[in-house]
Amino acid sequence: MPGAVQSIERAAAILRLLASGHRRLGLGEVAASLGLAKGTAHGILRTLQHVDFVEQDQATGKYQLGAALLHLGTSYLDVNELRSRSINWADALAARSGEAVRIGTPLEGQVLVVHHVFRPDDTLQTLDVGSLLPLHASALGKVLLAYGATPVAPLVEAGLEAYNRHTLATPEDLDRALTEIREVGWAAEVQEMIIGEAGIAVPIRGQGGLVVGAIGVSGAVERICDTRGRPHPNLVALVRDAARAVSRDLGAARW
């Protein structure tokens, strides 16, 4: 039996190191912790970054575990597959809620709309599959952030754009909102992106409970919310039913 491959052992040690701490580590810290030359550590980190097992923070140059590691062992879910599997449930949600339905997945720091069902009133509407929404100002995006489907830190570091006075534009406000979303299991967006518009979204889970996307309804704020600006509970229930149905279809056991 051939001997162990030294560089793979070292790569494994780097991953363990990054997984053990709660903060990002710089190149010097990684090299010193493992007793490696900086050049060696850098080469391995670059390779791990290339396969998305490690991410490097743009501003500080520090390293953390990459998103691809989260998907290890679960099959990567193709966005077109997600649309195919959810199309009947999304239709039913639009028919029951009377509102437009969208399904979003994370893409490079934004929400990619992978499916869109028109509001069932036969008014002129344009299909916006393929368009992008801001993570922090949309119900879909906040769900993806709250459940770790995409990292919060780079977004905060890049600065949270304020679209109007309702937008969650500070890290503290966003953090508080994400904590609440995790507690209640759904997100609302009340005029945070566009004045007069509101939305509700719930996570879609795949195998093992991993959040792979979000499904939600959106429309005029007076239809989505009550007079105090709180989303109608029956709409929330409809979105949760649809999300649960899609998640079950995708193989999430408990939802």
Partner: protein, 518 residues
Amino acid sequence: MTSMPSSPASEGLLMVERYVMSIDQGTTSTRCILFDHRGRLVSVAQREHQHHFPRPGWVEHDAVEIWRNLQRIVPQAMDGAEADQVAAIGIANQRETTVLWDRTTGAPVGKAISWQDTRTDSLVEDLRRTTGDDFFLDRCSLPLATYFSAPRIRWLFDHVEGLHERAERGEVLFGTMETWLIWNLTGGPTGGLHITDVTNASRTMLMNTRTLTWDEDLLAYFGVPRSMLPEIRSSAESYAVAGSLLPGVRIGAALGDQQAALFGQTCFAPGEAKCTYGTGSFLLINTGTQVIRSRHGLLTTVGYKIKDEPAVYALEGPIAVTGSLVQWFRDSLGLISSAPEIETLARTVDDNGGCYIVPAFSGLYAPHWRSDARGVIVGLTSYITKGHLARAVLEATGWQTREVVDAMNADSPHSLKELKVDGGMTANNLLMQFVAEVLDVPVVRPMVAETVSLGAAYAAGLAVGYWPDLEGLRRNWHRAAQWLPDMDPERRESEYDNWQRAVERALGWIKPAKRSLS
């Protein structure tokens, strides 16, 4: 089984909700769905049945297995609802599949012969040579083909000892799947109702398209005794009350699946058309109460007939290979691991790179009807990647749709203004956009994707007064998505020209060979 309870906010809480049940007896499975008054899906139960392939080209189902499956899924779909909450049952079914059974025992004579079965090809070739197409076109509006039921009955008489004599004595009954299920639902050997509807009968090659009755000349030609045939009824009328499976519930409709989809898409006016994109695809255009004889390779068929109203006809363009080309790309080439991934792969490139795939796996259906064609991939260069091939796979479905629409525009006085689409492939955005581009008309997808089931439910609900009229049904139809054409006309035409040149290369690949009947 899955179900979504109706929202209490949108229904009256005090009223007991009533539903219409649809049964879709399809090629691969039987599905039972409850719809509410607004045409929304309330519950679904489904069960697949086995396909039997005893010899190359033979495809069979076990009719008893299908009836048992229905008995299992009906209670599942009811999901706690009582029989008196079901206003009516509507049936949609795979067309042309042929089953013969014993009138007294209810036992089928052998397996049901699927519409996909081509065992009658030599028989059909011989008959066609001696008789010519006009004899058939003048009476049943169909060209002689292995596709339809009558040659299968003839084949069974020729190959099953004593069957013809038993049929002559009235001991054997014929039916397509809706006939078999209605007979069993209404008591089977003890008083079962032996009926079919005009749409299913229009696919047997035994019904006269104008009189909507069994045609004496055709019965004589195929040697089919009248006594074995079901009574031809309207697509929507109260036929009978179901027996023990759903006691007291009226059976109110039966339609062939593609006609059911036309009805479910509410294509009630002449010129309105739908295309169902599945394994194969079926484009139907409503031509009103007029029988139009196609001069461009389409089939004339009955669209539907409501109660005593005049029958509404349709032109149909069946395309043999659309979704199955994606399946081939996945299973035989292994270039993708699931069908939806074809879109992801196709989006890795901007165009087809000059590559075209004509999927004439078993010849070409409408509008070419060339059994001597076989598939070709043309335009290969070292530049072509699997992404280009994925594009060409999807574009093949778009161009085949265009060919059928061109034939319809040439045959029908109404040119196509909009195409309503349904079926699994409508989840593919790239494809739907491409269909809009090549047809140069808007493509729209309705909110209820289950149009076959919905059409059967609509017809049944109409028959018993659950829905008042066609306008009421139209109000239930809502647009879920719309794709608008945005292609440079010059590019459209040059691409279409390339496609047509590719098709030319597929034609005539199989050399004529005299085959002996085994």
